[in-house]
Assembly symmetry: C2
Homo-oligomer: 257 residues x 2
DNA sequence: TAAGATTTGTTCGTATGTATC
DNA sequence: GGATACATACGAACAAATCTT
């Protein structure tokens, strides 16, 4: 097969789109032109019908498209209508999870990322967190002081540990870095729940993870960037070893909202 | 303000959902239960109406939701109907871009990520690419041999350079790593086009970028992981300097399909 | 080429639900 | 409670696309 040599790796061809999709695009354009912000109201159905010369059904389908993308919310009743909405992190994670549903991600793929990104995150966070934030992290790290005595407890501890990382990711000043880390925590949580990625128990290793988290919080308090980075790097190596061990191959769920 | 101390950072409350959304969820469930794969056919409209006891309009709105998420495609005519579709990388990038539209990403946020991820990518790719792939990268790197003589050319070269990185990201064995890098290339490309992130011209620096790319392709051919990593790291530092210089603050477009 | 069959696409009229005043 | 303003949902009819013969 000859190389394409045109730099275009994916076809952008878009021959025909249904009318609701075109209307949804026009609405987006309409919004951008007016620089509407979160909370601003869109024209109501009747006005949309006149504005784009389509029927009610078509307008409604277009609205559903925008709603599915998290761009608008709709309320009934007087004063109701459709309003610009900020896409939530949770919705963005769900939509992205749909993509990876088809992609055959392995645990080690995720850990290749975590190993490089999470130390970067904590290094940038050292000395920057408030007391309240640090206390919350400490609280999360201090749960489950005893080793797990059953598979169910093992799973709980695993999820709890991921919640620590998820919360940490929300403190990131760099939203992209935070999002990617939060997304990985979510994927791993889903895997933990839907499959049985927590047994066989490896209690003393999760125990070690708890210690890591407490040390990490202390380093963050002290503003010690290098220590925070080193602790997280070590933690990731340990966690990877556990995960790879009971490994599995790929992601499998048609993820919901 | 007291810390929440419950580890839940985002409200999951979901009081009422519209009927089309509920139907869309039921359809997802229906699909998962049957383990349908890409290309498999869903029931047609008439069957859906009976299956869920709703009207045609409601079924169609539900389909639009699934379509907007990239989960199905629909064709008219005999043998037509709705079919399970794999979410495309392009669609996933668009949906995610909608999220970051509201997030105030800075150029340096993106480069914090690129600096750590792109060297990691090329290191993992050294010696693993086919001749065809290497030739294509070389072709992309060899375009624009002369320094830009106008702002338009400057922009073209900038976009071309990003296309090199985008293509590279598609070769990644690690789909998550590849996606994130491709996403960043897309964001930067959009910024380059919509804003004027290419002037003032910094011709000799882009020239240096071209040399980096050619050296990189050679290192990839040689299977020299460390060299590839080092070249990319150096390239990222240079590119960051340029970008930060003409910086700007945030992303601003309601990104389309 | 043309006709017919199948399936989605679009419209309209009407009725119902819901929140505000 | 009643009026109002909005979205929500239904059903029937017709239009358009596309496949088969």
């Amino acid at each position: 097969m000859k190389p394409k040599m045109d730099g275009s790796s994916e076809f952008i061809a878009r021959p025909k789109q249904s009318r609701p999709v075109r209307v949804a695009d026009k609405i987006k354009q309409w919004v951008v032109e007016r620089d509407l912000k979160q909370g601003d109201k869109l024209p109501n159905e009747a006005e949309m019908i006149k504005l784009f010369s389509v029927s009610k059904g078509t307008v409604r389908e277009a609205m559903r498209i925008l709603e599915a993308q998290g761009l608008i919310v709709t309320r009934t009743g007087p004063g109701g209508g459709s309003f610009i909405d900020k896409v939530s992190a949770e919705r963005a994670r769900s939509l992205l999870a749909n993509y990876f549903y088809f992609q055959n991600l392995s645990i080690s793929d995720i850990y290749q990322m975590r190993k490089t990104l999470e130390p970067e995150l904590v290094a940038s966070l050292a000395g920057k967190l408030t007391e309240v934030q640090l206390d919350e992290l400490q609280f999360l790290a201090e749960r489950h002081p005893e080793p797990a005595s059953s598979p169910e407890e093992e799973m709980e501890q695993h999820i709890s540990s991921l919640a620590f990382h998820a919360r940490l990711s929300e403190f990131a000043g760099n939203r992209l870095l935070g999002f990617v880390i939060g997304f990985m925590a979510r994927i791993l949580t889903d895997l933990t729940v839907y499959r049985r990625l927590y047994d066989p128990p490896s209690a003393e290793l999760w125990q070690r993870g708890r210690e890591h988290q407490l040390e990490l919080v202390q380093a963050l308090r002290d503003g010690d960037s290098d220590a925070a980075r080193a602790i997280m790097a070590s933690h990731m190596k340990g966690a990877e070893r556990i995960m790879i061990a009971q490994e599995a191959q790929l992601m499998r769920n048609f993820m919901g909202e």
